[in-house]
């Protein structure tokens, strides 16, 4: 992992919250290389003992927030509430759910009752 090009950028974040390191590393690489996001930066979410990622999808201006987690973790609505609070109340938070075979699924969470797109 240390020899990977992304490691340099992430090394401080990875060592501060070791339990969340795997998910952070995987998600960062996926967003940067597979999803081709730009302007990726790392934001601390101390209440959830991890770092989140912020960036833009290709050809868009909107900045999105992504919180990595592992499929094996136990979350709660309090945990979700904390991510919104510590990321400065964005309109949505994307949860990046990481699995052991390195698959990632992204789910969009919005506070309140939000109608589905038509």
């Amino acid at each position: 992992m240390e020899r990977h090009p992304s490691y340099q950028i992430l090394s401080a974040s990875l060592s501060k919250y070791p339990k969340a390191a795997g998910a952070l590393f995987q998600t960062y690489n996926d967003l940067k290389l597979a999803q081709q996001w730009s302007d990726l930066e790392v934001i601390e979410v101390p209440g959830c003992s991890r770092y989140a990622l912020r960036g833009r999808r290709p050809n868009t201006d909107v900045v999105l927030n992504v919180v990595p987690c592992s499929l094996s973790e136990s979350l709660s609505t309090d945990w979700i509430r904390t991510t919104f609070r510590e990321l400065n109340s964005p309109a949505h938070v994307y949860l990046a759910i990481n699995t052991e075979d390195s698959s990632i699924v992204y789910y969009k969470i919005s506070p309140g009752i939000v109608k589905p797109p038509l």
Partner: protein, 319 residues
């Protein structure tokens, strides 16, 4: 029955074995139109071979719907088994007599209607009368011939053939069938018509009172309490709700009458802010919601703050 005005009359929820049934059609209409509560019709029609297409009364309500209606003082719980008291023999005899006389009146009315329909169909023109006479004569001749061939006494045969009847109004010209006519008779099935059904003496307007006598016990667990509070909050926002089983949630949530909308949301109740929520649940609920063009709502109940917090979940569309 008490002489309350209709405004005071609460919806009658007739409870049997911890399930609330609505048998009065007026109440069912009121529930939907005024209180945006739909329930599920569960009455089947005995003559239909498929028992899940056309359904009628009674309406069955979700336990959360019952709790809401009673707490808002819109309905009362009736202890239905105990409201049906043993009938005095005099009352039974009276009921029986009324039923018989009603049946007789209905049959007489049906018979009168049938005869007048037949008479109306019979033509009174000369040609028609003549034809009928010829037909009768032919039939009598045929019967006579048959009798001779079989060696039966002619008198017997002649007697069994009805002589041509004079064509007075209302008398059928063709021989009447020997079978007894069959009529449909309507008999009252509702308990409300019965003297020995006394719901007022077994009505409970408070959930705790009903709980004390073992009539109604919902909610009992924290999860059930959370479901009641979330249901109430969604209802107070004006939504119609239905059962969520078909979409893997606790409730379906419609912004308006389900007859006009496909539901926008599937709601899952989260018992408390610290209750365990796994990423797998988020995936399962979120994906199903997205695939069916709905949003999945995680509805968190906070017992301490006494409030509901909603989070809408859908698949991100990338990754």
């Amino acid at each position: 029955m008490a002489s309350d005005s209709n405004d005071d009359r609460k919806i009658q929820l007739r409870v049997s074995n911890h399930i609330a049934y609505v048998w009065d059609v007026e109440d069912i209409a009121t529930l939907r139109a005024q209180h945006h509560i739909c329930g599920v019709l569960t009455g089947t029609l005995p003559h239909l071979s498929q028992q899940n297409v056309f359904l009628g009364v009674p309406l069955v309500l979700l336990p959360e719907e019952v709790v809401l209606l009673v707490e808002k003082q819109l309905a009362v719980l009736i202890d239905d088994p105990n409201a049906h008291q043993p009938a005095a023999s005099e009352a039974l005899a009276r009921w029986n007599a009324e039923r018989e006389s009603s049946a007789k009146r209905q049959m007489a009315a049906s018979e009168a209607e049938r005869s007048s329909e037949k008479a109306a169909k019979l033509s009174t023109s000369e040609a028609a009368v003549q034809k009928r006479k010829e037909r009768e004569a032919k039939r009598a001749a045929a019967a006579r011939a048959k009798a001779l061939a079989e060696g039966l006494p002619i008198d017997h045969i002649l007697a069994s053939v009805p002589s041509p009847t004079p064509n007075t109004e209302g008398r059928p010209a063709t021989p009447a069938r020997s079978a007894v006519p069959v009529f449909n008779v309507v008999i009252p099935a509702s308990s409300s018509e019965i003297d020995w059904y006394n719901p007022d003496a077994h009505a409970y307007s408070l959930l705790e009172a009903a709980r004390a006598v073992g009539l109604w016990s919902y909610p009992t667990t924290p999860y059930e309490r959370a479901k009641c509070r979330v249901f109430q909050d969604l209802w107070e926002k004006g939504n119609f709700m239905g059962g969520g089983i078909k979409f893997g949630g606790d409730f379906l949530v419609y912004p308006g009458d389900p007859l006009r909308y496909h539901s926008h949301f599937v709601a899952t109740v989260i018992e408390s802010p610290t209750a365990r929520l796994t990423p797998m649940e988020i995936v399962a609920h979120g994906r199903l919601g997205t695939a069916t063009k709905k949003s999945h709502l995680f509805c968190e109940w906070d017992e301490v703050k006494q409030e509901v917090t909603y989070y809408s979940v859908e698949w991100a569309g990338f990754g």
